[in-house]
Symmetry: C2
Subunit: 320 residues, 2 copies
C-alpha cells in the first residue's frame, strides 16, 4: 500500500464533516473558510513512541492522545478547534494499527466537531505530529501572560492521575486496587481536553494554560509570562481518590506536581470572578479548585501546612 | 538546556516580523489575523533523517528543505505563505546543529515573508515537521482537479536535478564534472519553492501541483483528480545541462521522471493562456516548458520519438 492509498483509506474522511472546509485531504494544501471577526489559533504538538507513550500502546489511545494534546492547547486559549493536520511517521503500515489509530483520532475529532483536512505519512520511527487550527472571537483569547496580582490560581478536575497512570503502565508504580489502576490508566491513555471550559472561561479568567508538563513545570511559565510570583498551598491540590489510593498521599502530591499529561487547565481568575467561573465549570460537570494566588514578585512558592514545600520533581522536561 | 530555553534561544524570532501575528511563539497556541475575503491555506510536510535526507546533512540544508517543501505546497495552490509551525524531534540538542538549522529555516522564511509562530521540540530520532499556513483570495486557489481536456501540461524550471543531487550525495551516482555535481547537490539541498510563480498562475492555469515525488508519481494524481488522461512527450522534459552531463541522456530522463524533491510546479493551462503564463514565468526568471496535454480518458501515456515509453522508475513512494 503506498502513501496515497494509505491516506485515502484511513484518513480521507476522519472527524466531523464541516461546511467551512473548502478543500480537505487530497490536494497540496487544505483550503478553509475562517469566520469573520475571529483570530486564527494554531498549535502543533508531537508525541514520540518511547518518549511520550510506550511503543506497544493501544493504537486507539495513541490516536486519541495525539489529538487530545493539541485540543488542549486550543482549550487553553479559549479557542474553538475546527481543523487538524496529521503527520504520521511509522515503521510499517499495519492495517490493524492504522484502523485503531484512526478510530481513536476520529472519535475524539467528532466529539469536538473537528475535521482532519490534510497530512502526510512517512516511514520511520513512530512519531505523531498533529497541527490544530481553530478560531476565537477577535481579541478575546486567553493568554499565559494575562494574570494580575491577587488573581486566584485554580485548576480543573484532578491532577497527577495521568502521571500515575503512565507509571502503572511502565511498572514504576504498582497497586492492588484494580479499579484505581484502571481509572488512572484511562486518564493517561484517554485524556479529556477541557475545550468547553476554556471557551467558557473567556471574559472571566485573566490567564490560562494547559497542564501538559506537570504543575511544577507549567505554573512558573504562567507566573513568569504574567510578570508575577505564584503562591500555592500544596494541601489544596485536587487529588483523585484513585490517585491517593494507588500512590499514597505523599506520592500523590509528587504526581500532581511533577507528573505530566493531565491536560487539565490552569487559570488565573480575579477573586470577584472565581465563583462565576466555578459555576461555569460545574455546568460542564467539572470541578474548579483554587490552589493559590498570584502575588507581586517573580518566583513560585509552594507551601504545605504553613511550611515551604520543595516539589520532589521539577516537571516533565525533554532532553533529560 | 530544557525545551523552553531551547525554543527561546533559537526559535522565538525566526523569519520575518509580521504585523498580522497577534501572538507568536511562547503561548499554548499562536493567534493570527487573517485578511478579509481570503481562504486559509494549510499544509504539513515531514522530513525524516535517513529517509528524505542523509542523517549527516548540513543542518542549514535541513532547515531550508523542511520549510521549502511546505512553501512548495502553498505555491501549488497559488497561496501566499505567512505563518509556520515547527515540530522538531532530534536526538541531542547540539547548539551548533540548532544554529545551522535555524539559519537555513530563517533565511528562507525571511525571503518569503514567513514568520515562525510556534512549535515544539522533542527528544527522538531526527524528524522535522513543518506546518505552513497562508491565504489566497477566496475562490481563486489552484487545485489538482481543475484540469480540462486540451489543457497544456507544463513544468517550471528543470526537473530531475534534485534526484540526481541526492544520488550524488549517497554515492549512487558519480561524475567527474565538479561544477555539475555542485549544482545538482545544491538543487537537492536548497530547493527553491515556486511561490511567486504559483501566485502568478492564478487566473491562468486550471490546475497545479508541486513535484515532490517525481513526475511519474505526481502527474497521475493531477490527471486522476481532473478525471482525464495525460499524454507526455518525454523528449520535451526540461533537463538541465548539469543533469545531462552528470547522468547521461537516458538516466537524466529517469531522474526527471522518477526522482523526487524538485519542488518545481506542474500546471495544466488552456492553450489560449499558455503564452501569457510563460510570460509571467519569464518575468520571474523562470522557464515554463510544455511537456504534453490532458486528454479524454483515465491513464498517463509517456511517449518518446513516437513510441510508448515506460518510465524506469515509478516515482518516490514511502514504505517501499
Amino acid at each position: 500500500m503506498d502513501e496515497f492509498e494509505l491516506i485515502q483509506r484511513y484518513f480521507s474522511r476522519l472527524g466531523s464533516a464541516r461546511a467551512d472546509v473548502v478543500l480537505g485531504v487530497g490536494d497540496d494544501a487544505a483550503l478553509l473558510h475562517m469566520p469573520d471577526d475571529a483570530d486564527l489559533a494554531a498549535s502543533v504538538d508531537t508525541i514520540v513512541a518511547g518518549r511520550h507513550f510506550p511503543e506497544a500502546s493501544d493504537p486507539r489511545s495513541i490516536g486519541h492522545r495525539a489529538l487530545a494534546v493539541n485540543l488542549s492547547d486550543l482549550a487553553a486559549m479559549g479557542a474553538h478547534p475546527a481543523w487538524a493536520l496529521l503527520s504520521l511517521t511509522l515503521p510499517t503500515p499495519s492495517p490493524d494499527w492504522l484502523e485503531g489509530f484512526a478510530r481513536g483520532f476520529g472519535e475524539l475529532a467528532r466529539a469536538h466537531d473537528v475535521m482532519l483536512v490534510g497530512g502526510d505519512t512517512t516511514a520511520g520511527p513512530l512519531t505523531v505530529s498533529v497541527q490544530i487550527m481553530g478560531h476565537v472571537p477577535r481579541g478575546t483569547a486567553l493568554r499565559r501572560g494575562g494574570g494580575r496580582e491577587g488573581d486566584v490560581l485554580a485548576v480543573t478536575g484532578t491532577i497527577g492521575d495521568a502521571g500515575a497512570g503512565l507509571a502503572l503502565v511502565t511498572g514504576a508504580l504498582a497497586t492492588e486496587d484494580a479499579a484505581a489502576a484502571s481509572e488512572l490508566r484511562r486518564r493517561f491513555e484517554y485524556p479529556t481536553p477541557r475545550v468547553e471550559f476554556g471557551a467558557a472561561a473567556r471574559g472571566l479568567a485573566s490567564a490560562a494554560m494547559d497542564l501538559s508538563d506537570g504543575l511544577a513545570g507549567d505554573l512558573p511559565k504562567l507566573a513568569a509570562a504574567s510578570g508575577l510570583a505564584a503562591h500555592v498551598d500544596v494541601a489544596r491540590l485536587p487529588l483523585s481518590r484513585a490517585l491517593t489510593f494507588a500512590a499514597g498521599a505523599q506520592h500523590a502530591r509528587d504526581f500532581a506536581l511533577g507528573g505530566g499529561d493531565d491536560y487539565e487547565l490552569l487559570v488565573a481568575v480575579p477573586p470577584t470572578h472565581f465563583e462565576a467561573l466555578g459555576a461555569r465549570a460545574a455546568a460542564l460537570n467539572l470541578t474548579l479548585t483554587a490552589i493559590g494566588e498570584l502575588r507581586r514578585g517573580n518566583s513560585v512558592q509552594w507551601e504545605l501546612e504553613g511550611r515551604p514545600y520543595v516539589p520532589a520533581v521539577e516537571g516533565y522536561s525533554h532532553f533529560r
